[in-house]
Amino acid sequence: MQVFNIPRAIKQNSNFTFCPGCDHGVAIRLVAQIIDELKLQEKTIAVASSGCSVLLYDFLDVDCIESPHGRACAVATGIKRAHRALNNDRFVFTYQGDGDFASIGLAESMHSALRGENITAICINNTNYGMTGGQLGPTTTMGQITTTSPDGRNAHYHGFPIKTAEQIALCEGTSFSARAALYDVKNILSTKNIIKKAFQYQIEGLGFSFVEILSSCPTNWKLSPKDSHLKIQNELTKVYPLGIFKDVKND
């Protein structure tokens, strides 16, 4: 039974290469649906980054460039500004992991927000460095066991995790900053609305729009897909509350 059509912005015959139960697939599908709905396919340039999120360009049927690790927002800035200089109106978004956006690339991310760069950034937060096998990252929660925090994250030893959506909301150039999750159908639908809003804010030229998505990493969390989603629902949303932290239209 087919519940919904494959979006036009998804490449035909592409095989799912993420781990079973990983939310990247859902996130990319939502992005593709919104690209269809907002008729952006012909004018989009996507910026993929390092880590699992780089696989974006295997699935998304839009022009795409891979950026060096952490530099996606800088690369996107260059693309957006260059097209503006060429008198082209193009839609530019980045698709990054939490390590990429909020650790190695924090300077580029935050300064893009501070400049009010008219781009959208999507950050998949799965609380670890997934592609390298699950190490402690900027969003690893207190007590969380990873391959580089074998006894669990400890404030004294490892320091604290970053609440990215809240931090980006503090930047004056940010038009929209929100955190969403994909652990059930209701949240998948609300995530879609949030990403759509972030995209629309760019189209309206309001400045930097940002969506952090809490995502599962069953392989590195050593949990089943189902338990991974329960963990997001019951544990992660306590640490990383869902919601909209900045919206220039409402503030």
């Binding site: 390092s50 060429l86 193009r90």
Partner: protein
């Protein structure tokens, strides 16, 4: 002469970039090249072009990487220790085949060093300071007029070969003013419609990436890159010869050091020693073949650099066993003076010329 204006190398580079259609500049301040960014900030804002005061050189070169993917002409500028920060993206841009023009107005290193003049970045520029198998085109001006001419050429070659191109400028030249003529860009525009990222409109979507998990594809990609480098090496070697025709001793030098080397030729010619100069204008591709030919007619080559002997390696590779290769150098600080150079050259020449 009337069209000439007195310009610092830095300003001449900036003016030339604007004149040949540079649409985007991203930069971060560092002496001795800051005037490039200062000058362009006003001009580009007035022309509604892309100018970002980047948060770091890392961000600046990555903005350039993104901007280059749109097909727009893109430039960034920096100096030595900060160019080191850019190497990752240069490696990416080489694999991605993106045309970025990078101006490196050199200061002294290693590390922070200081703003003294030096030619210490020859190795980094010509052999690639980043990871992996790749080459960047490197052009070396020796006067302010060439800062203009070679900026045009850097944009042209970067677009023609879809390859990062470095203008390697001596710090002295960035700061020094000479009369120059900002002539028209002599090069043709290169069509980039087959690869640029401007939206998948009535064509399949495009993908620019260096990541390649398939080792056969990665191998093929690098081999293709090197086929391109071979073509660059065959077609783009550029050099200046000064009184080499009958020369028994040939000096090799690049950038401003070559001017002093010319003066040395004049000095020794008066003393009856037939000396000439070979100056590569392209440091990559290095004109091995031409220097090899010249070296067959001489028995002494003296390489002169403001470093501890970086181009020397390429000179030796060109000369092979045709002639003896000697070196005069000094790492940083005041340029080698006439007296210092003559003293050093005398010592080298003594063995061959009893008259010295």
């Amino acid at each position: 002469m009337n069209k000439k204006e007195l310009l610092k190398g830095n300003i001449a580079i900036a003016k030339a970039a604007l004149n040949c259609g540079c649409k985007c500049y991203f930069g971060y301040p560092i002496t001795p090249q800051t005037e490039i960014g200062e000058f362009l900030s006003k001009e580009m804002q007035q022309r509604k072009l892309a100018y970002v005061c980047a948060e770091s050189e890392v961000a600046a070169i990555n903005m350039a990487l993104g901007a280059a993917s749109t097909g727009a002409k893109v430039m960034t500028s920096s100096s030595s220790c900060a160019v080191s920060l850019m190497q990752e993206a240069i490696s990416y841009a080489s694999s991605d085949e993106l045309p970025i023009v990078l101006i490196n107005v050199m200061r002294a290193g290693p590390g922070q060093g200081y703003i003294y003049p030096s030619q210490g970045d020859y190795n980094q520029a010509t052999t690639g300071g980043g990871n992996g198998d790749y080459r960047t085109i490197v052009l070396s001006p020796s006067n302010v007029q060439e800062c203009v001419d070679l900026t045009y050429k850097a944009f042209y070659l970067s677009q023609k070969y879809r390859n990062p191109t470095i203008l390697l400028v001596d710090g002295l030249l960035g700061q020094m003013a000479e009369p120059v003529e900002i002539n028209d860009n002599p090069y043709q525009e290169i069509d980039n419609s087959s690869w640029r990222l401007d939206g998948a409109n009535e064509r399949p979507s495009r993908n620019i990436h260096s990541l390649e998990p398939n080792q056969n594809k990665l191998n093929r990609h690098i081999i293709e890159l090197f086929k391109k480098y071979t073509i660059i090496e065959q077609n783009e070697c550029d050099y200046e010869e000064y009184m080499t025709q009958d020369a028994k001793v040939i000096l090799t030098a690049f950038g401003t050091m070559a001017r002093h080397a010319k003066a040395l030729c004049n000095y020794y010619r008066e003393k009856g020693i037939k000396m000439g100069l070979f100056r590569p204008k392209t440091l990559y591709p290095f004109p091995y073949k031409k220097l090899n030919e010249l070296s067959q007619k001489t028995n002494l080559i003296i390489d002169i650099e403001m470093n501890m002997g970086q181009m020397l390696k390429d000179v030796r590779l060109a000369v092979l066993s045709n002639a003896r290769v000697a070196f005069i150098g000094k790492p940083v600080g005041d340029w080698l003076t006439e007296e210092e150079m003559i003293k050093a050259a005398d010592n080298i020449l003594k063995e061959q010329y009893a008259s010295i």
